[in-house]
Amino acid sequence: MLLEVRNLHVGYGDAPALWGVSLEVDTGEIVSVIGPNGAGKTTLINAIAGLLRCRQGELRFDGCDMTRVRAHDYCNHGIALVPEGRRLFAKMSVEENLELGCYRAAARPARTRSLEHIYALFPILRDKRRQVAGELSGGQQQMVAIGRALMARPRIVLFDEPSLGLAPAIVDDMFDIIARVRSEGAAVLLVEQNVLKAAGIADRAYVLEQGRIATHGLPADLLQQPHIREAYLGV
């Protein structure tokens, strides 16, 4: 198993946000986590990315105990994050943002090759590479955020609400890109509010509610459950 989360507890100050969450992602899989606002989806993904420390429980990546790893070493294990709201380095150029993606020593030698790969994936970014990232449109910023993650040559990419705030046509593009990330060999953990889209692309899905995993299984099966249909699809 590539990513193993067991009985994970994470909190902010005195307020717990995750209560004993367990999930798994295997190599080559796309796994979705769906759930309402405030369920703890971003907390979960930030904990897996090393941005938040775990209070209790296990976080293993490729067998390695990640709770002992320092935040800036997470990427060296092959974990890359496409954060909620993109969080680009807004004052830096598009290309500099991408280059930060390959900051880690193992990804640096491939800098030129990786950049070419990203520009082939998102040709518009080649034209805008000298532009300040904060000036791009939402969709283009999302491309930079994904490109930055891919520059790290990751083994798993964590997507946090990649469709948030994007026009519907661009949302479809984003999901195509996510499928492509997997076909290039990285596993994907996807947190989404767009339940139909997230279920459509995923091999397996987890439903996170109030900081706990409510249920999990094959997306098609989950979409049949009355509770899920009512809460997330409004039917």
């Binding site: 941005l51 800036h72 890359a80 830096m92």
Partner: protein, 283 residues
């Protein structure tokens, strides 16, 4: 209205004096812009370096460049050590201002204890040397200072723009968590940058020893104008700091030639206010 020659000379002297503003502003600008630490002790460190260069030069007859070769690395160490304290006590932007103010006061007291409050002047054969260019005089030491400041500003700017470490520092200043997620060890880089900032104080101090008259209270004379220079040059931008320094230096000097010396501080802060009114997001 003074003559064209006098104005031209004022302009040259001003730009050269501005080189010192810029050199002092650089270290301050780097730590404020990239680490969010406002380091008032920067001025005290520069004067500590100046006194050491003075002491080595007058008592031991060590040439100033050899003194600099000793003092600058020592200052790097002091800067890194100071950062250890900031790091240990998780000092934020406002607290750093207060703490480094105290550090500066303590350093001032220490300097006064050892070297007394008397004015000190480090006389060197080249302190009065100047090049004659047409009707104008260009003092050699000030020119050397500007060349050194220019090289440092340009080099530091390139370092921040072109190298992975420089880009990591800028990224970390914008979003430390995300930079860390991509492998940036902010803590380590912060030590490096604090050391570099203090080393710049050491270089500035060497020139202060050669150019200025030393007294412990002189630590505070440049505080106001250098702060204005740091902000006008934009935080974290070494090239901006130097250019702003020269702009302020030239404007002050010309204002002094046309009106009276009392106008000098008015000029620098007027420029600061105009810049901030023109673009409130400048800071």
């Amino acid at each position: 209205m003074p003559s064209a020659t006098l104005l031209g000379q004022a302009l040259i002297s001003g730009v050269l004096a501005g080189g010192m503003y810029g050199l002092l502003a650089m270290g301050l600008s780097l730590s404020w812009g990239l680490l969010r630490l406002v380091n008032l002790s920067h001025f005290a460190l520069a004067f500590l370096a100046a006194y050491i260069v003075y002491e080595l030069g007058t008592t031991w007859h060590v040439a100033p460049w050899w003194s600099a070769a000793l003092v600058v690395p020592a200052m790097f160490g002091i800067g890194a050590a100071q950062h250890w304290l900031f790091d240990r006590f998780r000092v934020n932007e406002l607290a750093s201002l207060l703490i480094t103010f105290s550090v500066a006061v303590i350093l001032e007291a220490g300097i006064q204890l050892y070297w007394t409050a008397d004015f000190r002047r480090y006389e060197t054969p080249y302190s009065t040397l100047s090049i004659k260019a047409g009707p104008f005089f260009i003092p050699v030491l000030e020119l050397a200072l500007c060349l050194v400041a220019g090289t440092l500003a340009w080099g530091t700017w390139l370092w921040l723009r072109r190298t992975f470490v420089g880009k990591a520092l800028r990224a970390s200043a914008e979003d430390a968590d995300i930079a860390a997620a991509y492998g940036v060890n902010h803590k380590q880089l912060a030590y490096l940058l604090s050391g570099i900032g203090a080393a710049y104080a050491g270089i500035a101090g060497t020139f202060i020893a050669l150019i200025a008259t030393l007294a412990p209270a002189e630590i505070w004379t440049w505080l106001g104008v250098v702060f204005a220079v740091v902000i006008i040059g934009r935080l974290g931008n070494p090239l901006g700091a130097l250019l702003a320094g020269m702009l302020i230096g030239a404007s002050q000097s010309v204002a002094m030639a046309i009106f009276s010396p009392a106008w000098a501080p008015v000029v620098s802060f007027s420029i600061l206010i105009v810049v901030l009114l023109w673009d409130p997001e400048w800071l």
